[in-house]
């Protein structure tokens, strides 16, 4: 079993969550209060959902081909695939959090104001605890999506073992070299991890689903 690629995928997914979720919360908060440009902003942020990953990877290569950050080149490096992963996960991280913000009754926000809370206090004490399901859902989706990401990672990072060769690329490599048993094991493991993450997102964090379950009992 190619544990290096599994660990690399997990490392990439966790870094993506760590960086993307705070950014997602900020973007979603701004989007909820955005004015007339809201539709265009939402459309722009949803683009990674509809664009082929190779198109994103191509633009990344063209845009950052010779760029380095603190001496580290962005292409064919972990930093590069992390930045690419952040970009492709924008809609998966922002949308669930935005929906969670939108589900807060506007009167609750007004009540926070008349209770004398500053915007930061209202966010910290009122809104953030009310959107935690959205944050967990976004985290699970981002995690599962990063584990399965193939096109962009291959275009930007290639397949350098221990650096950019994630589990999904390792599966591709195994298939190319007719190691179907190895590919099958890795696939099964990725399938299981992704299923658990999505099930957590849909089940545990979704109150409506839980209520339905209780209702049936």
């Amino acid at each position: 079993m190619d544990f290096d690629s599994i660990f690399l995928s997990l490392k990439l997914a966790l870094w993506t969550i760590a960086l993307m979720i705070p950014l997602g919360v900020w973007c979603a908060y701004r989007l909820v209060n955005a004015g007339s440009f809201k539709v265009w902003l939402e459309a722009g942020l949803a683009l990674p959902l509809v664009l082929p990953p190779t198109v994103l990877g191509y633009y990344f290569l063209v845009g950052f081909g010779g760029t380095t950050v603190l001496g580290i080149p962005l292409v064919f490096s972990f930093t590069g695939i992390l930045i690419a992963s952040l970009i492709v996960n924008i809609p998966f991280a922002i949308q669930p959090i935005q929906r969670a913000f939108e589900s807060i009754d506007p009167q609750i926000r007004e009540a926070a104001k008349v209770c004398g809370l500053s915007p930061w206090q209202a966010f910290r004490f009122i809104e953030l605890p009310l959107i935690w399901r959205g944050i967990l859902s976004a985290s699970a989706l981002t995690f599962a999506h990063t584990l399965g990401e193939f096109g962009v990672v291959l275009m930007v990072g290639g397949a350098i073992p221990g650096e950019t060769k994630t589990a999904s690329i390792a599966i591709y490599d195994r298939v190319q070299s007719f190691d179907t048993a190895g590919a099958g094991m890795l696939s099964l493991l990725l399938l299981a991890i992704s299923l658990i993450a999505i099930a957590l997102s849909y089940g545990l964090f979704n109150p409506r689903y839980r209520q339905n379950q209780l209702g049936r009992n």
């Binding site: 007004e110 009540a111 008349v114 004398g116 809370l117």
Partner: protein, 372 residues
């Protein structure tokens, strides 16, 4: 004291002027969509008026002239307690925490906040519910928590937005008592929005009638019912005998009826002026036999609800109707039946004469904007 003078055109036209004294309970009454809640929201800073000023206890909260805002204190810094119609309790916080959060800035110490919040719960008789979440509380209990939250900050003004509309009658009466006792203790201006006139006249010292965003009259409940400023106010306060005529030196003609009434001339209305006039229920008496100044009328409509009967008389040889309410026993005593005759007498001292269309009547404003 709370002084409000505001004007706005969007999202709904508002032209409100009112004052509320410390310890006074001032009701804003009007039909749905008349701008009562918007007025409270502007006072709290949740909405911004185009022009005017809002002053509370010598502090200017808002001041704007010609769409230029000079002062606009943010909601969080206006010392006002606001009780929302749907209570707006924070769903993730317990009853105690809902109150304690409003003390966040006044008391940095968490323990202190919790002690004060608990004291408020005790004051409102719900200390046993401290750890309950909002969804575990009944409507009346939620409202008490919301009221405690609004009061815990020791606000300089209390704004109540239809607080009694969503609760059952026994709970409502219990809350009337709570409000009365709190009111004595606090000595701050209290504004109450309601569409229920009975509730307003029961609780309020003064009532401001609002229609289509315009404050039409501010008066004590007694004055409002006896001397409405104009026919629209009379309509809104539920006076259903409103007529028009021409007033000339103590003689009041009655449109649609060939009869002139002799009323007291206070010298306020010029001779020959077209006027609206009203007569309260207490100024109408009905007899079986004719009296010196009585009018002959026939019973046009008769409907009974429980022990109360509502009768509409049509004055003979006219197209004028007079509405009258009486007990079923009184109706029986007078042998009132559909189509029967009766004799109606007016106590002319109780006739109140008003200008037909005062300057701030919304209909007049609408007419002038349409014609220009």
């Amino acid at each position: 004291m709370l002084k409000v003078q505001i004007k706005q055109a969007y999202p709904m036209p508002l032209q409100i002027q009112l004052e509320c004294l410390p310890g006074e309970l001032h009701a804003l009454v009007g039909p749905s969509g008349s701008g009562k809640t918007s007025t409270l929201r502007v006072i709290a800073g949740l909405m911004q008026a185009d022009e005017g000023h809002i002053q509370c206890a010598d502090m200017n909260w808002f001041s704007a002239a010609h769409a230029q805002v000079e002062i606009n204190i943010p909601t969080a810094k206006r010392s006002c307690g606001f009780l929302f119609q749907q209570y707006a309790l924070f769903p993730h916080l317990s009853a105690l925490e809902n109150i304690a959060i409003s003390l966040q800035n006044a008391y940095p110490n968490t323990k202190e906040r919790r002690v004060i919040a608990q004291q408020w719960l005790e004051k409102l008789g719900i200390s046993a519910l401290a750890q309950r979440m909002p969804h575990e509380l009944s409507g009346g209990q939620q409202q008490r928590v919301a009221l405690a939250r609004a009061l815990a900050r020791e606000p300089q003004v209390l704004l109540l937005d239809e607080p009694f509309s969503a609760i059952d009658i026994p709970t409502r009466h219990a809350l009337y008592k709570t409000l009365a006792s709190i009111r004595k203790e606090l000595n701050i201006p209290i504004l109450l929005v309601t569409h229920d006139l009975k509730e307003a006249s029961l609780l309020a010292d003064r009532i401001t009638v609002i229609d289509q965003g315009i404050s039409l009259q501010t008066a004590s409940p007694r004055v409002l019912f006896q001397k409405p400023r104009n026919s629209r106010v009379a309509q809104l306060v539920g006076i259903n005998n409103i007529y028009t005529g021409i007033f000339s030196a103590g003689s009041l003609s009655w449109d649609g009826c060939n009869r002139v009434l002799q009323v007291l001339d206070k010298g306020k209305i010029p001779a020959g002026q077209k006027v609206a006039w009203v007569i309260p229920q207490s100024g109408i008496s009905v007899h079986e036999q004719a009296k010196p100044n009585s009018l002959v009328a026939t019973v046009h409509q008769l409907s009974s609800i429980g022990q109360i009967a509502s009768i509409q008389f049509q004055i003979k040889d006219s197209d004028v109707f007079v509405n009258w309410e009486a007990s079923s026993a009184e109706v029986k005593r007078l042998s009132i039946q559909l189509g029967s005759e009766a004799h109606i007498e007016f106590d002319t001292k109780q006739i109140h004469i008003m200008p037909l269309r005062p300057i701030n009547d919304p209909r007049r404003l609408q007419e002038s904007s349409q014609s220009s």
